[in-house]
Amino acid sequence: MTDEVLSKQMIQHILDTVDRSNISTWEAKFLISIEAWAKKGNKLSAKQSAALKKLYEKNTLKDKTG
């Protein structure tokens, strides 16, 4: 499953969902670069997809209770 390329909708969902206050600087930089890359209409490589997927899975939704 790891060499699968993420769909456009999934990339957008991840970019919209990841809690950026809860990630490291390099992860934030990586997200910005993916955002720019996807905005140009480019497809992600398998490696980029796997990295983005890993970041997303690590960053599960926090409850709203604080």
Partner: protein
């Protein structure tokens, strides 16, 4: 702090408090306006159900070779089928193993229950109306309940008798697979998320994936098997229960679970992590903060089976409770927006709140304006969650929806 008859202790924390406050006006409205019950429809459905129950009971007597056999008698079933228990799981397993009588008993019981529910519905049918009491705090995990009479899990024959007031139409908004979408959203399982975002059929896809890994499993109806499978995994059924439900061996059931875990590994990890956290903290929260205390779960010394049941309840509180909150959130948004637009309860109001479904009564002449307004608010995506897919229908009876 709400307390429940089963001993559950629940506390509203964080946003769940505000959410419950916002629900009060629409709940009061649902409790104020009675629902109409059509006597003619009731009589027709009652006679049909009676006929069907009699026919199926007769068929069971024929298969059992006993004129006194009663399908709804556990003692009769145990004797004729030669089993220790005659519950639905045992009968399903027997039916899957080829017993026609077990299948007929299941059908007959369902028909008898349908008939019995309709028989008890005579009073509201004679009165011509029914006024259940809706309660948003009625059960621990946060789904609405209704009392006097309870409208939850009513058979189609009863739902068909319930109508809006004259000059009104029902609008139904029903979230599809709410708990699975909630699970995928909360766990950030990218495989499950991809599946929902692609718009593919979740049940069929999961069953097809599992089948591709477990070649010895060949269900007749892939979608139905997928439904059973998804429900069993989400609610943590043991392999032997899954085997009985799917009609396969324990060995195959274990392989199926392993295959499923491969596809939804992050979802499974999330549930394990959550339960470990619950063990440490002694409570489980929904996304919006409806807290259920779980002190008994922290104690390891008890019965293993009981421990597993508690675990299932806590997990269900988190998933089904969050799904219920998302529906409630939409309910509050819609109510407030309608009233802001100057529409009163004489124009549009919530009539039925059933699990993941909201049913509004809308005045016929305002229907064209109000419907798109409500649907638009309903379809609004909650930040962080996957988009929910819904079935939106209109009708003149609850049964049509």
């Amino acid at each position: 702090m709400p307390r429940y008859s089963n001993g559950a202790r629940v506390e509203l924390t964080g946003q769940s408090q505000l959410l419950e406050q916002r629900l009060i006006p629409s709940t009061i409205e649902a409790n104020t306006f009675p629902l109409r019950v059509n006597h003619t429809t009731w009589l027709r459905n009652f006679q049909k159900a009676e006929q069907e129950a009699n026919d199926l009971s007769e068929y069971c007597r024929y298969l059992a070779g006993d004129d006194n056999f009663r399908a709804n008698s556990p003692a009769d079933c145990r004797k004729v089928l030669n089993v220790k228990s005659s519950d639905a799981d045992t009968l399903t397993a027997l039916f899957n193993a080829g017993s026609e009588l077990a299948g007929a008993v299941l059908d007959a019981r369902s028909a008898i229950s349908h008939w019995s529910q309709l028989r008890k519905w005579e009073k509201p049918a004679l009165l011509g109306w029914v006024s259940p009491r809706w309660d948003s705090l009625g059960c621990p995990h946060g789904r609405y309940t209704s009392e006097a009479p309870c409208l939850n899990n009513r058979v189609r024959g009863i739902r068909e008798t319930i109508e809006p007031q004259p000059g009104f139409t029902f609008l139904s908004l029903d979230v599809k697979q709410a708990e699975y979408v909630t699970w995928a959203s909360l766990s950030h399982d990218s495989n499950l998320c991809e599946l929902f975002l692609s718009g593919k059929d979740f049940h069929e896809e999961m069953a097809a994936f599992v089948q591709s890994l477990v070649s010895s499993w060949n269900p007749e109806n892939l979608r139905q098997a997928g439904k059973t499978l998804n429900f069993s995994i989400l609610y943590k059924m043991k392999p032997h229960t899954l085997a009985a439900k799917l009609g396969c061996s324990h060995r195959i059931a274990r392989s199926i679970i392993r295959a499923y875990y491969k596809r939804a590994s992050q979802g499974i990890k999330y549930s394990r992590k959550l339960l470990l956290q619950v063990r440490d903290q002694g409570f489980v929260d929904t996304f919006f903060g409806r807290r259920r205390f779980a002190f008994r779960y922290q104690d390891d010394s008890g019965d293993k089976r009981e421990h597993h049941e508690i675990e299932k309840t806590l997990w269900s509180h988190h998933i089904a409770g969050t799904a219920a909150e998302l529906v409630k959130l939409r309910q509050a948004d819609i109510h407030e927006a309608l009233r802001r637009e100057g529409l009163s309860s004489d124009d549009v109001r919530l009539s039925i709140q059933m699990y993941d479904q909201l049913i509004y009564s809308i005045k016929d002449e305002l229907s064209d304006q109000i419907q798109p307004f409500i649907v638009n608010l309903w379809n609004k995506q909650e930040p962080g969650f996957l988009p929910f897919r819904s079935t939106i229908k209109t009708g003149k009876t609850w049964g049509e929806l």
